[in-house]
Point group: C3
Chain length 325, copies 3
């Protein structure tokens, strides 16, 4: 079963949230609209809604990421759910228990939702295809495949800043090859009908044949940024630096690092985005990261609203739970 088939139930409602690829346009827009209604919660004096009271949400992170785990934890707590952070390194998997046994055990504890990050592409879908009918799975990043909640928050941010997407030029810059954020963003922006979508980076970091996804490829930064309305910078993984794919961080910054000078060829009201955490002086200059075009911190805030929307929509389609087996 393809990811986009498993994540939607017979009534067309969100069941799991595994991938942007194959997500129907109206469902993506429904998520963005729901996130809009949650965006105000973080700014209230009492940041708490009772929507998921009495639900148990387990975060299963097989790759460390304090930032992403924290936003899911906060989103769940603000929806009044009980959150269980499973430290996968120290858990029963170390005692030789299989992943599937761990999942079955958590189900038997009446967990309602798993938020999964895994270094293996396809892990979230694999898990979703094996859970009990009442359990929901949210993909918090699987290998190089997808990071779908990040793509939704990126689209939410663009829509909030720019309004209509159909006339926008969006450039995604950096290590596209290894980036699940880039893959999810490309799918999401295509679904929403963005005007023009570009990927920009050195040949070694652009996936061969990426044009098939409906993007224009630029190997040089300046033409890639020219007249862009939105620039999405990707994080450069430090571990790539040691390999042969890349010159030094310094040389990379010279060629592809975003500075105010280089940004001058974009539209005057260009919006600069980054999924974080940022490497200042590697893929982005401090003056740009903290400058007037940057919406990097808004992205973080929107990430919580978007995750609240996705969690409550997926749980909203939950069948009445039954006894396991």
């Amino acid at each position: 079963m393809k990811p986009h088939q498993i994540q939607i139930d017979e009534q067309g409602r969100l069941k799991h949230f595994i991938s942007i690829e194959g997500l129907p346009r109206d469902l993506l827009i429904a998520i963005l609209d729901a996130a809009q209604s949650f965006a105000g919660v973080g700014e209230r004096a009492i940041k708490k809604l009772p929507l998921l009271r009495g639900k148990t949400i387990a975060t299963l992170f097989f790759e460390p990421s304090t930032r992403t785990r924290t936003t899911f934890e906060l989103a769940a707590k603000r929806l009044s759910a009980d959150v269980l952070n499973i430290n996968v390194q120290s858990s029963a998997t170390r005692k030789g228990e299989s992943l599937l046994d761990t999942l079955r055990t958590l189900e038997a504890m009446h967990c309602d939702m798993f938020v999964v990050r895994h270094p293996m592409s396809g892990a979230a879908q694999l898990i979703a295809s094996h859970v009990a009918p009442h359990v929901r799975v949210i993909n918090a990043g699987d290998g190089r495949h997808e990071h779908p909640t990040q793509a939704v928050l990126d689209c939410f941010t663009i829509r909030r800043v720019k309004g209509d997407l159909s006339s926008l030029v969006v450039a995604i810059v950096g290590d596209v090859l290894h980036s699940r954020v880039a893959r999810s963003d490309i799918h999401a922006l295509n679904i929403l009908g963005v005007g023009e979508l570009r990927v920009v980076g050195p040949k070694t970091l652009i996936p061969p044949g990426v044009e098939a996804l409906g993007v224009r490829v630029f190997y040089d930064l300046e033409p890639g940024l020219r007249d862009a309305d939105v620039v999405i910078m990707l994080r450069l993984q430090n571990e790539r630096m040691q390999g042969t794919l890349l010159p030094s961080a310094h040389e990379y910054f010279q060629a592809y690092g975003l500075t105010a000078a280089k940004l001058a060829v974009a539209r005057p009201d260009v919006t600069v985005m980054h999924p974080g955490p940022i490497n200042r002086g590697v893929e982005i200059d401090t003056a740009v990261a903290d400058g007037p075009h940057s919406v990097i911190l808004q992205q973080v805030s929107h990430g919580i609203a978007v995750r609240m929307a996705i969690m409550s929509m997926a749980m909203g389609s939950q069948a009445a739970p039954r006894r396991t087996r």
Copy 2:
């Protein structure tokens, strides 16, 4: 003072929960009955009761066990308590503070209950004998001594599946020598008046003189399983493999691993149990673990109901807390 004297107050109510040995039959049945009423909570849409609202429960695990700690944490949260997970490795004990000082400090923070796992037999009782009058202690496993909540959930599961215990043949199979689960199960099943109780395993892993506890000993699997109504498989600790007590995992599985073929000599409606996490292909075959006789996952679900029952009963006998000292 014997464990069974410390855990009951003057009115005969549960105060701490340290050991099955010496637990009065009517109190054990009262716990099982209370667990019955909590068993439905996990299947509700809102899995939350206000019974322990405003209480603080600290889990103190001197031995790692994500699974057991998690079930206690979930049980406490579903009773609306505040839970404090004390990571004993990184806490003040590392700064040279004694265990007793750590306990006194947690008491002074107005913790109401300690859930304790410790590699030393007798640790939970030692702690219970030193805490302030309003503090309750639950034994989550102490050395090779007891794991009393596991025994209650095992009995709860058997009672739920089989009804009356007085005519049942129950076989406990594996490393009985090192197993606190086996010890607690033997005591609990005797208290409840099980029909026939057997322990099955290689001579090196059966405690000498165990017959005194009212069990029949079998050194071979087939006679041990014959006509059994319930088979409780024990987890084989990987670390035992390195020693001289055991042949290889492969040889062990040949002799004592539970397969469908071997299970054929038991009653046709035999129930197979395991405290988890299971070692597939070591003490139990996958076909049996996942097969129609297995109730291993129900045990996990019941574990939460049983712990909710024990926590709320112990706290129910709590005297009005007073200022420490």
Copy 3:
């Protein structure tokens, strides 16, 4: 800006809580009075107040301290706040993210308060000077500078036991040089107008010129303790033992360890305090730590009441939060 300027708003209310130095007397007394009203909460059956419901409090500990973190966490939970424990070792700072970026990110997640412990003196103030207007910062210990909540709980304890401070002789004994507790205590007791304030310890552990803070210096224990109403023992950091500042732990105990015999020169109703965790047989004898003069465990209880008071007062001055940037 001095610490005492940053922590008070235009209306004279507590905004952050960074240092005792420079804290106005009436504000310190207001905190003590508020703590008085919270002191009963820990002894109630339901230890929960809704004052900070819907607020998010992040603990940021760059130095490990289970005890202090736990008291802040309990204080926050008893005020009904959501608590986020950021494990700084494993967080994004390890991926090369700067401290400031971590803070900005937590702000963007709509955290309302940071509780900060850091090995660098001035860290809490630095953070307070950079946060968004609606965010509050509590110093949980910064290098050798201050540990202001400890000083408040010490004063609270003295006031509760002794009443009026103006006629009391208070002796602070031990490693004054490296102690942020000593520094904060000295400032707090001076602000409250204690009768006589002494520091007692070997020359190598008394800061040169400390007399300027209004204290009498004693290099010998007996004259330092003579007629004292209150003795505050400081924790001796084990790591100091390796250096040249100190003789062995045994010799230290002979000269400066508090025993019942040495305490005999103090007032008959002397009160003995220690911030914990205690090193029995190093700076204090077990008979004294557990004896009738000791209020060490009351200090722990008071620590929660004091932190509830400080957190709720600081949050009470919170401006309506706005979108970050």
